[in-house]
Symmetry: C2
């Protein structure tokens, strides 16, 4: 165009240049676009036929302008385009004026046609001209950025609570150069390093905290959990090694044994002088651990037990500390006295001598490489008629008396075993706390990266931080809210556990089981999302998300398979119906159930089920009602279903199986309501106004994201109408957008040491 | 009781023994239970006061029976209990008779009271007596087992189709001892092994299949994909190494270069004589690859290009084959001619000499250990003014002419670049096919294990295969259906791609992008579920699920980040609205949209939205209507939202961001409808009746699981009512239960070689 004789003769032709440029620089020139343009050209009666012909030639797809020509057009346009307010037609007029030394005569018709062209080509409003002035573009998406509305260290103090000093101590220890991560995948080296780290922790007195003073501790489970959690910012193999030694091994001796065992072992366990194992799980029995087949046969003639593995399925499998380092083990075995089976009991069995050589009758196979936790030496143990003295039975709940008879204050074998297991419920507190710490680390890495990493943006303008994208926010912000929610819920669980009475045990066991399952699934989901949110960077070993993910992956399995645990929660919730099941006829039960569901009626009025006011949607009372309604309704409906099936003659085992998916939902609903309540209670007590405000925002996001997740159920029940769930969805997105601005300070408040995070994308 | 003087005097007391045993052997004796029992005892006026006192003493929690006594009770009971039909009272009567030599006089009152007790203690019907005869218990859950209703090898033939011979060949090669997995985590060894394997495949002619005959191939992309997919049953590092060398490197030369490049390079690429890289992604530009900053500056004086990395963010990152083995690379760089930027073009750049030494100007950093794919040597490449001859520009779509001027048949830089990328869309077919093969391997392992692994069962009875549990079925069966559904959908995509015309490219690109995203997310979800479903066994390296999971984890990121791809799909779907956006006023648009949604009206009649007949719910026409309705409605609603925002003056970049989550849903709905259609079409063509029947069941499960997943949306829209979604949920569980019986033969039909699966839990 620029050097054509046509344009030289009639500079008014330049009026078309911006449209032509825009059309050709766009990715595709569609037949429709060509048709629109041709029609416009045809209408320009102020141009002669040849000129129109010439313009038509410029939109011929068979003869496109050369790339270099296109660039010349652009240079030409930039000469006159100085403001993004200009339309393409405006620029065209200016160009024509420039080329005619201001004398071009542009007809009204031409201008009008061009305005029409812009629209019919789908060039949105004035945005087409941003192509020439991207620097003027000011979208909201570009502008969003991290804000600082609260004091990060104040929030850290709120999170740490009365454990701040210990947390700080653990972090200081972890910051020692001795704790630098090693990048080796030589199992031997890695395991040796982890053992070395565990010894350093023991030397600092951190291993024995839960034990009584005379064995080096301060009798505090709370502090033990704090250490587990804080260590979880570092290598998780260390956490599990620590948990196996001081938790599983040490606490089985402490809680299942008596004074003689404490005196003999606890001190050396706490210092890691005596590394040991917790040998419960067998190849054949993991979840259904009551069925373990290892036997401990009492021999009265010499007052010993013979520990024996009767078959391959009865081997102790996945046992931490077994492959290399363990010298002894708490072994769970069926006790046989006088040919009678007294169910599963626990015994201390030596595995290796001081030099680390396996003792006679002990066979150990290395479990080898695992998906994660490769710093822990898991092994498979087989016992071949290993004889141990009678005193090595952990005899808090049962023993063999001097006459060689079995005695126990607990008559039922099952009840005795579950009482023993109940004393070990701490594992179901330590693990979710460790998992949530790993989630916090992953979120810190992904959110800091998302705040800095830019990608895409308005055409020609600067790229935008990926955390400004709504999808990225939807992926990470609810998980950030979950991490905070779980933090407070797990603190509540810990408090309940530490201050428990005997009567509360059933409730606390259900609470621990449910939170363990929910939290560890949340960890897996969080770290997966963090990995993907960091793209290729998230895949590199150096950025740690992969290790966090792999190491915590087994958290959903060990200390109780999550699916099994959720059923356990449901069964515990159902016991309140046990009486009603049996003592009422169907009519009585229905009346009872109806009375249980009574409060819901008031919530179901047509105004509330359609209420879309933000104030209402963010009202904690609405949340509480909605969560409780779901929890209660699902519990009642599964109870009804079970009763109906059983009344119809179905085997109860089948009835529970038919309702299994439903039962697991009972577990979820219970846990989610509980987390919400505890999060809200915790926020209420915060005195710093700014921190309380941001925590309240996180609480809102947690509550709304749960309602959104369960909207299908609420709609199905008629508890909400479509207008309301749509409003919730919209609010959900909005809350994610809002909290994004606080996201970086919110992860900073986790206060994870840079050397623990280590990921270059998060700390450089 | 047994040896008490009371019982000796009045053997009728034995009538209580079975109840007493049951109460004490149960896990918990609650205060309510004690109260019930006491009340019953009080009512037994046929007993004297002392006898009642004695019975009461037997339920005193402060003085429980000894464990050994409880066992004696049981032995006693087993003497008379011979049939599970007996109630506890029946057994009691028999016991009393035994101890009185048949002369016990049991009052009616006693029998009636006992019957009452059973109920009030919540001992469900006659199930309490199963405690004594677990072997008689026959629950449906125990009985469920694998059935063989179709011929596995026939189904394998259907899956393999016309590629059966090649699949068989690849499997035979993989079964060679040379391909035995190595359990090393020494990166060097592992990478060398993978290179060695890739060379073996090349030697078999598998690397060059896609290339023309003169370069060792048969010009068949279909066969190339088949090899990628089949190799994916084996080590996935090998698959990616294979894909990098023969796909990315080879095909970039083939599709972006011209005859001179083909002649010079293709043969050696196909034989792996010339290992190479595909250097597109930069540290700073992954998804937004159009923004890469590496420059290729043309120097006309000596007809060369200078390849240069201007800053750290412009380094080529994650480049496969770069850290060790690659000798050359296809490098994407902004072409600068005469100071003008002509957008991103591709160049062949040598990296190493024949001996493997880096050439001057080339700096390569090893990416080091990754979450997975550690057999691939990814690296970071930096170019410092590396000069290459003009001929090394891959010049199919653009070139510098003899006069030193840039030339291209494609005017727009963007369009040219996206045209280049379009030729490489094959990667978005190979990767989901590889991912789905990994899913199949994971499912084979988890389903075979679930069929054999038993855990829990009715009290005292044999344990039950975990795959008989409803939750386990709900976790795995829908994923099995997905794997089959994707198998056929990906075959359809492959066919469309292989037979494509120019006009279809946009559609096929959208199809490939969407399927790649959906399939690889499904792979991640599937392998995670498989890992958890195998518990601790799933965590062991030897069982392979961990490796499959880690290796495929990056599939959701490379060949296009899934979230970005789903937006690309949505934008492609939206182009049909582009015209309407601009040429209609709001009223016109609404009319148009309404007409698009017209067919839906007929589906919304009150009978259909409440129809819960199984026949209706399994009717493919219902599925198709429901899927299409969702797809169309969501597409239209996002189009409306975008238009409304833009009309309101919102920057279009913001408008797209505000709707981003909605847009991604457009992508999902499109893909899910397409998968359903293609699965159904494929099933229809199966001639073997039994195979067609089981495939139809899988199809049903796929369709119903998608409807269940999206029930919130359908309810919100009023497309379904609660009764219908509840029926769908019930049907979903039922379909899982049904297909479980076919699950093992269904994974057997994938016909994955045992040496590839390798997992002891699946092949021993």
């Amino acid at each position: 165009m620029i050097n054509s004789s046509h344009a030289k003769n009639n500079p008014a032709l330049f009026v078309f240049l911006p449209v032509l440029y825009t059309v050709w620089s766009d990715a595709v020139l569609t037949p429709t676009e060509i048709k629109s343009l041709e029609a416009v050209i045809e209408k320009q009666t102020w141009l002669d036929k040849e000129e129109r012909e010439f313009l038509r030639s410029l939109i011929n797809p068979a003869n496109p302008p050369k790339p270099s020509e296109l660039k010349n057009w652009l240079s030409e346009i930039l000469k006159v385009s100085t403001t993004p307010e200009d339309s393409l037609a405006d620029i065209g007029v200016k160009l024509a004026a420039l080329h005619s030394s201001g004398k071009a005569n542009i007809s009204e018709q031409a201008l009008h046609s061009l305005a029409g062209i812009e629209q019919s080509l789908g060039l949105i409003g004035r945005e087409a001209t941003y192509t020439f002035h991207p620097e003027y573009r000011r979208s909201i998406t570009q502008k969003q950025a991290t804000q600082h509305t609260f004091d990060v260290s104040t929030l850290t103090k709120i999170l740490d609570g009365d454990q701040a000093a210990l947390i700080s101590k653990v972090k200081t220890i972890l910051s020692d150069p001795e704790f630098a991560y090693i990048e080796t995948d030589n199992l031997g080296e890695y395991r040796a390093k982890v053992l070395h780290w565990a010894k350093l922790l023991a030397k600092q007195g951190l291993g024995a905290l839960a034990y009584p003073k005379e064995y080096g501790g301060i009798s505090s489970m709370a502090e033990y959990f704090t250490v587990m959690e804080t260590l979880s910012y570092h290598d998780l193999s260390l956490v599990v090694k620590f948990g196996v030694q001081f938790g599983l091994w040490g606490m089985s001796v402490y809680f299942l044994g008596t004074a003689k065992h404490h005196k003999k072992y606890l001190k050396d366990i706490g210092t890691l002088e005596l590394p040991g194992c917790f040998a419960m799980t067998e190849t054949g029995h993991g979840s259904n651990v009551r069925g373990v087949e290892t036997t401990a046969t009492y021999n009265h003639h010499n007052k010993t037990f013979t520990i024996h593995t009767p078959n391959e399925a009865a081997q102790k499998e996945y046992i931490g500390n077994a492959a290399l380092h363990g010298h002894m083990a708490t072994v769970f075995a069926k006790l046989i006295v006088d040919g009678k089976d007294y169910g599963v009991n626990a015994f201390v069995v030596p595995l290796r001598d001081k030099q680390g050589n396996l003792l006679p009758g002990i066979t150990i196979k290395d479990c080898g490489r695992k998906l994660g936790l490769n710093g822990v030496d898991n092994g498979v143990i087989r016992f071949t008629n290993v004889v141990i003295p009678k005193d090595e039975m952990l005899d808090r709940f049962a023993w063999v008396n001097e006459e060689g008879r079995f005695e126990s204050p607990i008559t039922s074998d099952n009840r005795r075993f579950f009482t023993m297991l109940g004393t070990l419920v701490g594992g179901r507190i330590g693990i979710p706390r460790s998992g949530n710490a790993a989630s916090k680390a992953g979120l810190t890495i992904a959110i800091r990266y998302g705040d800095k990493r830019t990608q895409f943006g308005p055409e020609g303008a600067a790229e935008v931080p990926i955390l400004n994208y709504r999808t990225h926010q939807r992926r990470l912000m609810p998980l950030l809210a979950n991490a905070y929610a779980l933090h407070f819920a797990l603190q509540y669980l810990t408090k309940r556990f530490v201050e428990r009475t005997e009567e509360e045990m059933q409730e606390i066991e259900a609470l621990a089981a449910g939170l363990k399952a929910w939290a560890t699934w949340n960890t897996t989901a969080t770290l997966q999302e963090c990995r993907e949110a960091c793209g290729g960077k998230g895949y590199l070993f150096e950025n740690r998300i992969g290790s966090l993910k792999n190491d915590t992956d087994i958290y959903t399995t060990f200390e109780g398979d999550n699916t099994v645990l959720m059923q356990l929660v449901a069964k515990s919730r159902l016991t309140e119906f046990k009486q009603e099941f049996s003592s009422m006829n169907a009519f009585g039960l229905l009346n009872y159930l109806a009375s249980q569901a009574a409060t819901s009626i008031t919530e179901m009025n047509p105004i509330i089920i359609r209420n879309t006011d933000e104030e209402h949607l963010l009202d904690p009372e609405f949340h509480l009602n909605a969560f409780r309604y779901r929890e209660r309704d699902i519990l009642i409906s599964v109870a009804k279903r079970l009763k109906r099936h059983i009344d119809d003659g179905m085997d109860s085992f089948d009835a529970f199986n038919v309702c299994q998916h439903h039962l697991i939902q009972v577990g979820f609903d219970y846990v989610e309501r509980m987390i919400m309540e505890q999060f809200f209670e915790a926020v209420k007590t915060v005195t710093d106004e700014k921190c309380r405000f941001v925590l309240r925002k996180l609480y809102n996001l947690y509550a709304i994201s749960q309602l959104e997740k369960n909207k299908g159920w609420y709609l199905e029940q008629g508890y909400m109408e479509g207008v309301k769930t749509k409003a919730i969805r919209k609010l959900f997105n909005q809350l994610c957008w809002d909290i994004r601005k606080d996201a970086v300070p919110l992860v900073d408040a986790f206060n994870i040491p840079a050397n623990c995070l280590a990921a270059p994308i998060a700390v450089q």
